[in-house]
């Protein structure tokens, strides 16, 4: 059997999810040059927000109808926590040394994990998440699970909406201006504080959507799920060129496909039998990142890098 279409589909689905999370890293970095390491936890909180809504619905409520409500619940939870984090953890440190907010972000990430662990009912272990019943779809030689259809529809829609917002609306253009030169943007009458909050909020909303996709796909969420997904999404953002929203999505997909192909085929390369399979996929994904950064330090779609990072 030819595995290739299936492995590409696996990679695409995983990559779309990475891409949605990577948007949050890339927008915040693009505007205030902060690597928001707590973003993986925002993703996790989005998942728990969605689960809370689902558990609160009357039994017998169809999952299709519940999904929009779950997304709303997840987005509200993620955005609220993200905005609070910006207001109380990052804003007081703005203008200080670059390392201070970075360390704060790492601390915040641990604190959020522990908070969910402690206060969310039964979150000390993985919680099961609703999934679609029924058979999978066969498309072009690849089997697509029902839960995966969600991310394949939602990810492009989100990207289109974001692209429109950034290039066409007043606030979006303000965002571009702030990212190019915050001081001048402020002089031109742009409320940069508001723009920054907005960047955090949009990133959190995308992460919440990704968390719903993650739950539907894997059937479980847990308080530690943000760590690995966050790390991968950050890698995707760097791979695509940090600061560029389309780059984040492209980086995510490239990373996901690279992981799937490494799992599927690396062990068939002569001499590489030992280095193939699921356990080595992360090694190959990061090897790819290093190669891309050696050849194109600004990432796949990145433009400027000298004065950043």
């Amino acid at each position: 059997m030819n595995e290739l279409p299936q492995q590409l589909a696996n990679g695409l689905i995983l990559g779309a999810m990475y891409g949605l999370i990577a948007i949050g890293y890339t927008m915040v970095y693009g505007i205030i040059q902060l690597i928001n390491f707590a973003h993986g936890e925002i993703f996790m909180i989005g998942g728990f927000g969605a689960l809370t809504v689902y558990l609160g619905l009357p039994s017998g409520f169809s999952l299709i109808a519940a999904i929009p409500l779950m997304i709303v619940g997840g987005v509200i939870a993620a955005v609220a926590i993200s905005m609070a984090a910006e207001r109380f953890a990052y804003r007081p440190l703005r203008g200080g040394p670059r390392l201070a907010p970075l360390i704060t972000a790492i601390g915040l990430s641990l604190a959020l994990q522990q908070a969910v662990w402690m206060w969310y009912p039964n979150a000390t272990k993985d919680r099961s998440f609703p999934q679609f019943e029924g058979e999978a779809f066969d498309i072009l030689g690849a089997t697509i699970q029902r839960g995966d259809v969600f991310v394949l529809i939602v990810a492009p829609l989100c990207m289109l909406a974001l692209g429109f917002f950034v290039s066409k609306t007043r606030a979006g253009r303000g965002m571009q201006a702030t990212s190019q030169d915050p001081d001048t943007a402020k002089l031109m009458g742009i409320n940069t504080d508001r723009i920054i909050v907005m960047a955090f909020a949009i990133g959190a909303a995308f992460a919440a959507v990704a968390a719903v996709a993650y739950g539907l796909k894997n059937g479980q969420i847990g308080f530690r799920m943000g760590f690995i997904m966050g790390l991968k999404a950050f890698t995707a953002a760097v791979l695509g060129g940090i600061g560029n929203i389309y780059g984040a999505m492209l980086g995510g997909i490239v990373l996901g496909v690279a992981e799937a192909l490494a799992t599927g085929y690396m062990s068939e390369v002569p001499g590489m039998e030992l280095f193939g399979g699921g356990a080595w996929k992360d090694v190959w994904a990061f090897a790819l990142l290093i190669i891309v950064l050696l050849v194109r330090p600004q990432g796949l779609l990145g433009e400027r890098v000298a004065d950043r990072a």
Binding site: M1, D126, Y214, G277
Partner: protein, 408 residues
Amino acid sequence: MRHRSLLILTAVLTTGALTLTACGSRDDSKSSGGDGGNQTVVIGLDAPLTGDLSALGLGIKNSADLAVKTANKEKTVPGVTFKLEALDDQAQPSVGQQNAVKLIGTKEVLGVVGPLNSGVAQSMQKPLNDAKLTQVSPANTGTELTQGNNWKTGDKKRPFASYFRTATTDQIQGAFAAKYLFETAKIKDVYLIDDQKPYGAGLAASFKATFTELGGKIVGTDHVNPEDRDFNSVATKVKSSKAKAVYYGGEYPAGAPLSQQIKDSVKIPFMGGDGMYSADFISLNKKAEGDIATSVGKPVEELESAKKFIADYKTAGYKDAYEAYGGGTYDATWSIIEAVKIVAAENDGKIPAEDGRAKVLAAMDKVKFEGVTGPVSFDEFGDTTNTLMTAYQVTGGKWVSKVSGTVE
């Protein structure tokens, strides 16, 4: 203004940090019981009380707590009051080692129950052995823990004299699983996956050895990262290998999604060891029906000797189930209590303050009693003499025992 919000932030963070630190030790105070004893003996416990494996870990903690309370109530060792000190290792070897050092530092600790993970046990063995502090694990199945790294070549050598266990070894578990799959389920083509941890890799290796010896074929192998939850690429490979079953050396947090994603693409049974035998495996896996797991001993529900344990556990009103290792933990804890009893009997009812630990360790060889899981005693390697195993299958959303037996 800015300073004030910073101040508030610091205050909030500090309070948060203090609460978090406090929660690590909140369980310590409530586990003592009984009075009238003029000497206190502390039994240490190390298990993952938080995180993915906490379902198993809390079952271990509660069962040990029950053993301690029973000993105090029945005055098993006159003049001695037992106390349990439970520490959380988060299933991490480094934390397990810190806990071992902490327990060594507490003078009243004469024995340690745990841990759950073979990998954690590896990091605890040496410090405990140096301190001559007896350790009895209810759950470690890694063969090398008692028989040395060269057990595969027949060169069995006990690395640490202070280490005992009431669980049998992965060598026996893997062989039992291979026999079950080959002879009872009549499956000849198996795809082998492990999570690269000492437990998972060891189990997969012993399964492979027996399965190929019987004439079965391993049609493919893969290794996964236990922190991962997306295994679709691996599932695709399983499908194209045309395997008739998957054997997984690992634990349920990754095992559950792995099984489900494999069944998304091909409907074959998924089999694992005692690390998969948990109710959580079924609640996290919507396609668990038909999956198989082996576990040590016989299901306590089916044992005449465990009736009292189950009733007492219920009466004590613990919030969490005793899970796979409840009976074994009770026996492990009780074996330490028995050893303390022997030492007390030899020293006019007192535990010598000087070399109490060494005396308890020496008494472990003489321990022999009827436990929850059957007769309990240890062989020259510190392994249990009870090598009974049971295969379970998910039937109607529950683990149902199929076959009990032993190999060799």
